[in-house]
């Protein structure tokens, strides 16, 4: 990877943008790596969590926003909990995901994850609550390769009455829909 810094390119300051959106002072991070050390999913990531912060620090926008790491973050917040410099790393990941989606940079390799979020929110948008079966349905349609994954669990859930065929519509579902509209 190559990062080029010239007087011109300094004008778009990625770090500042992230800081403004998140209220998180990424400059504080001194790259000790404790976040990475405690991250349960780090082993699956393309960049370590501390590297993602590093990208933000030095303005490597593309590297940060196209990383798989931001999607693989499970939001367990272990990193934030233990960070010696009180950098809210997990919360930073939320902001980066948001920016990544906005800019259409979400890494296609983690499409499963983004699709799941999409399906989940679509369900909420439609019904006000999650209708697990329909949400699942949408997700599996969009990610057909995962269809067979839960072949055993699914029917068992049904048989235990754990998946309702009826969507849980709430009365204020229109209000919820408006929330979605206003929060675009």
């Amino acid at each position: 990877m190559k990062i080029k810094i010239t007087t011109k390119e300094l004008k778009s300051d990625f770090a500042k943008e992230v800081e403004e959106r998140s209220g998180i002072d990424v400059k504080k991070c001194y790259q000790c790596g404790k976040c990475t050390a405690g991250c349960p999913v780090a082993y699956e990531m393309d960049y370590m969590p501390n590297q993602i912060i590093r990208f933000v620090q030095i303005g490597a926008r593309r590297e940060a926003l196209t990383s798989r790491t931001i999607w693989l973050c499970a939001s367990c917040i272990t990193c934030t909990t233990r960070c010696p410099k009180e950098v809210k790393i997990a919360e930073l990941m939320d902001v980066l995901r948001e920016m990544s989606l906005e800019e259409g940079l979400a890494n296609p390799l983690e499409k499963n994850i983004t699709t799941f979020h999409e399906a989940f929110l679509n369900s909420v948008k439609k019904h006000g609550r999650i209708s697990e079966l329909w949400m699942l349905n949408e997700y599996k349609m969009k990610r057909p390769k995962t269809a067979l994954q839960d072949l055993i669990v699914g029917p068992q859930m049904l048989s235990k009455g754990k998946l309702s065929f009826l969507p849980h519509d709430i009365k204020g579902k229109d209000a919820v829909k408006r929330i979605f509209e206003k929060c675009k």
Partner: protein
């Protein structure tokens, strides 16, 4: 002493010795096989209070007149056990240490091997003890005056502390003014207070202190003598200005036509005249003529005439208002003065690495690649730009400044393996000074590690990053090259694994602190040691950090190794307190390990035949000749004699003497013979 009663005490040192040496067996074998050994024991920690008590008790109870302690290196506790012996009335030089820890138990893991070697080592020492003689400490008088070499912050602090303690101090500074590097700095970390604001008062204080005699523009010519009694020759270089007459009125340097000489004080970023004071706050604030560059002196050299006979330019002397005798004397010559002092503090400071070493950063080729000290001058309100950050090439305000750390530090390939210790902090400071002066500017710092150990230091460097917004990139810069008006810096950020290329306006190198070019010369003049990097060596890195390898000579400041101002001041204070302790007594006691020329009954008088090889090899001129005279005053024989005060006990004379008429107390012939004789391999 016929048959000594020798006691052998074998230390377990916890398990440091006993884990790999069967200490009981060592004691047992020693008792069994050494007829003179009347008592042996082992103890967990001989150096502990109970251990020492055991030693004292047994010396008394058993009537021991010789002791071997088999324990750690004599460098650790020889002193301890000899002192314990003194308390019992036993002369301490009947106590010897057998080193069975550093040179046995710690290096030989197998018990039988370690035990056998220990037994041998103890036997050798036992035999030496058998031949040990009582020695008495030598008393030498103390000259109650100190010499401080170097007039930087270390020298000034040390001189002030000693002067405040009531003793005379002679300070020697080779530059025209005291102040050293600290006077060049703009602000100091971690408080960002102005360096000159805290330095100048100290300089004035030193100048005004009645106990301090200052010799600027002077160097040490030679040092002779020993602790308490040094004789020092000082070369007062020809200043061409009479310090007594000169009032520092500035008339002379204002008229000097040679105004384009690069100022050393401004690190070449500003100019000075040929007759000049290095900086406005100089002390003494009286000028010196730079004879290399002055056109009058150039002319005199060319014509091979006395300078005063040259008529090329006499503007300064004409401008000098002092009458009838002018304060300027072109014909002034170097003067050598001799002073006697009891103690010496070496505070000769450091030198900033010259940028020629790094060809990859331009090797001094690019005007806008500057060193740390140059940046200090740029940022200093009294500097060539009056504190405005302008790049040297075109005076433009730099928008992107790249700071490169570890230039000449941690770089074994360039012959500098150590860490210069201050650069992390001063670079952080530089980024702050820069950002304070150029608000929209961007500071990038390439570092390997950020080492900011010190009170408030970590917070300071984090502040540079968090509050001042300096961008730190982890990696060394590989190359700096010019591209148009810009300097392209090729670096890396290993934290992200990326190559970083920055088009900078100015590059600041955090150049290493190096030993002074002539550090070895001063070390040789003082007979003190220096390390691989030519920094002067302390005698013990932990327990004797300000003592040099020569008694009575102490170290302060960066001549001993890179350090920052607080550390330097602390060390200077420590050195001063050592000097004060030394000067507080009228006479000194020193180890009686000195050489001795034998004396015999007439008609031999001495087996010395007076060939004086000893005198020729003695590094301390401690050998004198003595005429042995008959009653009528006629000389029967001329023989050698040792001056105890000068002898340092190296034994060179003894080994050179063919007839073995000269021996070293504590390591005399019989003692060494006994030790070798006891080697007895089986």
């Amino acid at each position: 002493m016929g048959n000594k009663k020798i006691g052998v005490f074998v230390c377990h040192c916890g398990t440091n010795i006993s884990a790999t040496v069967d200490v009981e067996k060592v004691a047992e074998e020693t008792k069994k096989n050494n007829p003179g050994v009347s008592y042996t024991t082992t103890y967990k920690y001989m150096c502990s209070d109970p251990g020492q008590k055991l030693l004292r008790d047994k010396i008394k109870e058993e009537g021991l007149d010789g002791v071997v302690v088999a324990a750690c290196s004599p460098k650790m506790h020889e002193h301890t056990f000899r002192n314990a012996a003194i308390k019992t009335g036993l002369n301490p030089y009947h106590v010897e240490i057998s080193n069975i820890r550093e040179q046995c138990s710690w290096v030989h893991p197998e018990i039988p091997v370690g035990t056998e070697k220990s037994t041998d080592l103890v036997r050798m020492m036992t035999e030496k003890v058998r031949k040990d003689k009582s020695l008495n400490a030598i008393k030498v008088p103390v000259t109650k005056r100190a010499l401080v070499i170097g007039g930087g912050i270390a020298g000034i602090q040390a001189a002030l502390d000693i002067a405040d303690g009531g003793h005379e101090v002679i300070m020697v500074e080779r530059e025209a003014s005291i102040g050293g590097h600290m006077a060049q700095l703009s602000e100091t970390f971690p408080t960002l207070d102005c360096s000159q604001c805290i330095m100048t008062p100290k300089m004035v204080e030193a100048a005004q202190n009645d106990n301090i005699t200052m010799h600027t523009w002077s160097e040490i010519e030679s040092v002779d003598g020993y602790i308490g009694n040094f004789t020092v020759k000082i070369r007062k270089k020809a200043r061409s200005v009479d310090l007594d007459l000169c009032t520092g009125c500035s008339s002379c340097w204002q008229v000097c036509p040679c105004s384009k000489i690069k100022s050393e004080f401004d690190m070449g970023l500003g100019n000075r005249t040929a007759i000049y004071i290095p900086f406005p706050q100089a002390i003494p604030s009286k000028p010196v003529i730079d004879r290399e560059n002055c056109i009058l002196f150039k002319d005199a050299r060319k014509k091979n005439i006395k300078p005063n006979d040259s008529k090329v330019c006499r503007k300064c002397i004409d401008a000098c208002p002092i009458a009838p005798v002018k304060a300027i004397d072109y014909n002034q010559e170097d003067e050598i003065i001799e002073v006697k002092v009891g103690a010496i503090i070496v505070a000769t400071g450091y030198k900033e690495l010259e940028d020629g070493l790094y060809g990859e950063y331009g090797g001094g080729k690019y005007e806008d690649v500057i060193t740390g000290l140059q940046f200090e001058r740029l940022a200093s309100a009294s500097g060539p730009t009056e504190g405005v950050i302008k790049r040297p090439s075109d005076g433009k305000e730099p928008e992107i400044v790249v700071f490169i750390q570890c230039v000449g530090s941690r770089d074994p390939a360039k012959g500098c393996s150590y860490c210069s210790k201050t650069c992390c902090m001063y670079t952080a400071k530089h980024t702050m000074l820069y950002k304070h002066k150029v608000h929209h500017g961007h500071a990038f710092v390439f570092y390997i590690d950020i080492r900011c150990a010190g009170k408030g230091y970590e917070e300071f460097s984090q502040r540079a990053i968090e509050e001042e917004g300096a961008t730190y990139l982890r990696g060394r810069v590989s190359r700096v090259y010019k591209k148009g008006e810009k300097l392209v810096v090729l670096g890396a950020d290993t934290l992200t694994g990326s190559v970083v290329e920055i088009e900078a306006d100015m590059v600041v190198l955090a150049s290493a602190m190096k030993a002074q070019d002539d550090a070895m010369e001063i070390a040789q003049k003082l007979s003190i040691q220096y390390d691989k990097d030519k920094f002067l060596s302390e005698i013990h890195p932990k327990l004797k950090p300000v003592e040099s390898s020569s008694a009575g000579i102490f170290l302060a400041g960066t001549c001993q190794g890179p350090k920052d101002i607080p550390e330097t001041v602390a060390q200077a204070g420590a050195a001063a307190s050592k000097v004060l302790a030394l000067l507080s007594s009228d006479e000194l006691e020193r180890e009686p390990v000195v050489a001795r020329v034998d004396r015999q009954l007439p008609p031999v008088f001495s087996t010395c035949i007076g060939c004086f090889y000893c005198q020729k090899v003695c590094p301390y001129s401690a050998i004198e000749s003595e005429d042995i005279k008959a009653r009528d005053g006629s000389v029967i024989k001329t023989v050698a004699r040792v001056n105890e005060g000068l002898c340092q006990g190296c034994g060179l004379c003894a080994a050179t003497c063919r007839s073995k008429s000269i021996e070293l107390d504590g390591f005399n012939d019989e003692q060494i013979y006994a030790e070798i004789n006891a080697v007895e391999f089986n």
